[in-house]
């Protein structure tokens, strides 16, 4: 059978089948459509304006490595006028993050971007290794996720940037939509498909790979010969998310458009107004100044639990109240440094154009 010609340019020989559309296309056309779709996503959501300082959340994994490369390419090609930085968080996971940070350092050289590494140790006084040795693997992702989110904002604050972009891809977002429905997290469900979020005094955060399939990101890295660190986190035993991820992969195998279809579903609905009215209003953490829906932000609550040797009892709000009833927090307690946003206090939520 004669090799098929590219379904897009009709000229070159097709060498791959696009996971997103099923079309057989050539390598050059794949690069072009992949980059152009990301460009369209950026334009439609009006993510940047000329002169913006943008930090790329870089872990050394495939998504952030490709994101750094594509952001640099698009910034040069379409003259966005952005000043790009790499921002990495060192969670302190021996044998995992220390290796992946080496990849980030190589990226820094290759893409010629300034790099800032902020560690959990210097920010919270705890590494993930220490946390896991204290609490075990159970619930460790809760600590890591909460700490990472705040660490990114604080790192961005020290770089004085306007915007953080992360490598969340379409698979991640589809998985999150399903997860939030299955665990009834209506607040997160309402915002998980929003491409760009910004709290009152947090830095704008967006996901340019919102519509990019994970498989295409890997494909892009493969054909561009980008090197990335591909090991799964050694402390990643979130069984429930694992179920959701395996299910999503089954759906994708049955019909590849399922990923984008789930995102479309997530964009098509919203939380009813009467339900929104019952949700907690955002406030500022009385201890560290970071945004919070309670008096204390989640990171301060978790840190206090660690410091008091009661880490497992602060995962839920109810457990936290019980801990407080038991005995109040001592005055001498290691705390997170005060958060200072580089931005004026505004509240903006950019909805995706659908």
């Amino acid at each position: 059978m004669a090799p098929a010609s590219c379904a897009l340019c009709q000229n070159a020989k097709a060498i791959l089948k696009r996971p997103k559309t099923g079309q057989q296309i050539c390598k050059e056309c794949f690069f072009y459509v992949f980059e152009t779709e990301v460009h369209h996503t950026i334009l439609e959501a009006q993510l940047f304006k000329p002169g913006d300082k943008v930090a790329i959340g870089a872990s050394g994994g495939k998504d952030s490595t490709v994101l750094a490369y594509v952001m640099k390419t698009l910034n040069d090609r379409y003259k966005y006028g952005l000043e790009l930085f790499l921002l990495s968080i060192d969670e302190g996971i021996t044998g995992y993050r220390d290796d992946s940070l080496e990849t980030v350092k190589r990226n820094q050289q290759q893409y010629d971007m300034p790099l800032k590494i902020l560690s959990y140790d210097e920010l919270y006084g705890w590494t993930m290794d220490a946390i896991v040795s204290r609490i075990g693997k159970k619930n460790n992702c809760t600590f890591c996720g909460v700490f990472r989110r705040q660490a990114l904002d604080r790192g961005a604050s020290t770089l004085n940037v306007d915007h953080i972009v992360t490598g969340h891809n379409a698979d991640d977002i589809a998985e999150t939509v399903l997860m939030n429905i299955m665990r009834g997290d209506i607040a997160r469900l309402g915002r998980c498909t929003v491409i760009c979020t910004q709290g009152e005094d947090t830095i704008k955060r967006s996901k340019p790979f919102k519509y990019a399939y994970e498989k295409e990101i890997v494909m892009y890295a493969y054909f561009k010969k980008l090197d990335y660190f591909s090991t799964e986190c050694i402390y990643s035993p979130d069984a429930y998310r694992g179920h959701a991820r395996a299910f999503l992969k089954d759906l994708e195998a049955a019909r590849p458009s399922a990923i984008i279809d789930i995102i479309h579903s997530g964009e098509a609905f919203e939380v009813k107004e009467e339900i929104k009215a019952t949700q907690k209003a955002q406030q500022t953490c009385m201890r560290c100044g970071y945004m919070s829906s309670n008096e204390l932000c989640k990171a301060c609550t978790l840190l206090e639990g660690l410091e008091r040797g009661m880490a497992n009892s602060v995962i839920t709000d109810r457990a936290r109240r019980k801990m407080d009833e038991l005995r109040p927090a001592p005055d001498i307690l290691r705390t997170i440094p005060q958060y200072r946003s580089p931005l004026p206090a505004v509240s903006v939520e950019v909805a995706p154009q659908s």
């Binding site: 897009l8 992702c141 009834g184 994708e252 984008i260 279809d261 479309h264 919203e270």
Partner: protein, 514 residues
Amino acid sequence: MSSCGNPDSSEADALMPRRLKYGRSRDCVRCREKPGNIVIRHAVYCRDCFSPLVTLKFRKALQPSINASAGTSKRPRLKADGNLLMAFSGGLGSSLLLDIVHRIYFSNESVLNENEEPVGGKNHPRNADVWPSATVCYVEVCNAFPGMRDSTEELRTVVSQYPCFEYVATRIEDAFDRSWWLRVGGLPSFSQLSVDIGNPTSCDLSIISALFTPAERSPTDCLLAYLSSLPTQTAISTAIQTFIRILTLYTARSRGASHLLLGTSLTSLSISLISSISQGGGYTTREELQEEWTQSGIGSTEIAPTIRIVRPLRDVTMKECAAYARWNNITVVGKQRVPATTQGIHSLTKDFIVGLEKDYPSTVSTIARTCAKLAPKDAPKGSCLLCQRPMQHDIQEWKNRISIRSFGEAKLASDLHTPPNPHNNMPPPPLSSQSIDQTLSLTPHLCYSCHTTLTSRSSRGLKSTGSLPVPLPVWVSPPLLDSARVVNPDEDRGEVFQNRQPMRDAIAEYLLES
């Protein structure tokens, strides 16, 4: 991007500690006297307390929807606007539905108190006629798949246990049967509209029109042609579900029904919700839970009747349904598993949710409760011609923006910046010569989910049907032809033809020269 989430079975127990299967006591949590017979989400019930619990949930889910307006009374007299139609498949949920509806609303066995007055008062549904009549509708699908047996008569026997219910059997191929369409009061059409879905790279669905001829294909042939042209197992399963739903709705309308009851249990509802969301049906999540259907395409002088589609078992899990059926001796014939759909999204979702329910029993309830808190983001553009559910705006624009399928797409051309040509020696890409609105296409009349059903292909190889036109269900043609007349109001053509040959065939007898 996610660095968390490696499903490791050896770690699972350490992460999600299992709760005890039941609370502190093995005695019934309601009467606190008898030993429990069943555990429902960690609560134990005895057999005597369990059945009233199920019927209570049933009534709570159904009764607020019976009266056309809520009124001010806390316990209004239940009186529906029209008749009742119940969808029956022979499965567990619909068997329960028939039995409970019969017991509560049609048994006419008033329980009298010591003063010989009916217990519950005259407004109690047992003592008052809520619906004038009740029909049970079954849609037989055996002709869609070889090897399936016809269950029409078997189910007739089951329904005959309830003498006050009338049994109506329709067949899945009626979706392509003009005589059925006219019988249920559909608008007549002299065109058999077909669609071209054979092009594996195009997402546009061009319409091909043809006059009916004596040698036209039988409804079964049309059905088989339609199903065989669908690109995935998911699409086949979804098409069957859509056809059953629409056939039942039109049957309900022809019977003067104000309510259509479905035997969807909480488990089935959660499966439907996740399956629908996974197929892009997020905009109609509300309709998956509860729906009011008004037929589109009715003349402006008529008042279109509204049918409320209610799922009274939506708070009862499959396990509870099974226990209720067993302890109340309800005959369950069982549904035949539809072949050729086992790898579809609906089947995968079913396996996933049923499996998840074992380890995380509250998940199905959480899914339904979460989805009940959602609403569509924007006002609808109209109704989808295929599934007749609300349709969102700008579906094709969204699809085109997310995935570039050709270099001729308008979005590329209108890009604010000059896109580089991936092949410098290539001629510039041609722009599309026709926009969607300029040609008769089914695409702008379909919701996201139905369009995806017809166009989204599997990664396991492209299934191409060539250029054979695929017939469309009978309810699609009249409104589609109407819309074509609206697009070209100056041309009172009656019928729209895109190909020269059908045009010629239509006027052949008037041509003097062949």
